[in-house]
Symmetry: C2
């Protein structure tokens, strides 16, 4: 769907040493990393997210456990289950997202293209719908 | 010790939504992030690392479970237990490191200042000892 894509990363696996996945900024995915955050200790049944960004590019990776991600525009929606440290979900600008079904102990790692900027968030779905509809009209010819 | 320091990061905690720790590159720690990697599914009893970098800056965070890190120069050594997602261990250039006591399911996240460069590694301890002794003589006056 628009501004959402799925990545399968490499994994250096060794029976003695374990697994390692390495991501090179601007090479493994098409943006630089200015912010890294991770979500953890999420209580059972929690649904979070409920926002879109105006300009931010993000890569979501569930490095432990699993989580489901709903991505949505006024025209389409998709559900992605992140259940392996070598799977990535890229979410670009103007996509609504909700995260849910965090398994106990799950850790969702997010790499973001910009530093935190409160003005880049759209947190009201009605407002998002209006802005995104206008945006996607000009974007998708 | 030389080129090793301990960080305590913030944590946005909410009883409903869970915890989130956010790291701003070049602000939360003094380098930009060009590479992100994570080590996982490490078998019980494994000890890994056994190298130094010549120029790389790294931040190590155990985002799930716990792990111990030995950092060492020819003149001093230290053991750090990373057991919480809000603890970080900075390791700069010319420090030998070994990682061990990975708990089952633990995930060690590493943020690195440069892309992968095979020539930046020193993997032989005797060679490291020699280079580091010369390096630290000029560094520590």
């Amino acid at each position: 769907m628009f501004n959402v894509s799925h990545y399968k990363f490499g994994r250096f696996f060794d029976a003695t040493y374990g697994s390692l996945t390495a991501l090179e900024a601007e090479q493994s995915f098409p943006f630089g990393v200015k912010r890294v955050y991770y979500i953890y200790e999420v209580p059972d049944g929690t649904r979070r997210g409920f926002h879109s960004h105006k300009d931010l590019h993000q890569m979501l990776i569930c490095v432990h456990g699993s989580v489901k991600i709903l991505t949505k525009t006024p025209y389409e929606e998709e559900i992605t289950e992140l259940s392996s440290p070598d799977k990535g979900l890229y979410i670009g600008p103007m996509v609504w997202r909700e995260m849910y079904d965090f398994t106990p102990g799950s850790v969702l790692l997010v790499l973001a293209s910009e530093h935190y900027n409160v003005n880049d968030y759209i947190r009201d779905y009605k407002e998002y719908e209006k802005i995104a509809t206008d945006f996607l009209k000009s974007e998708v010819k």
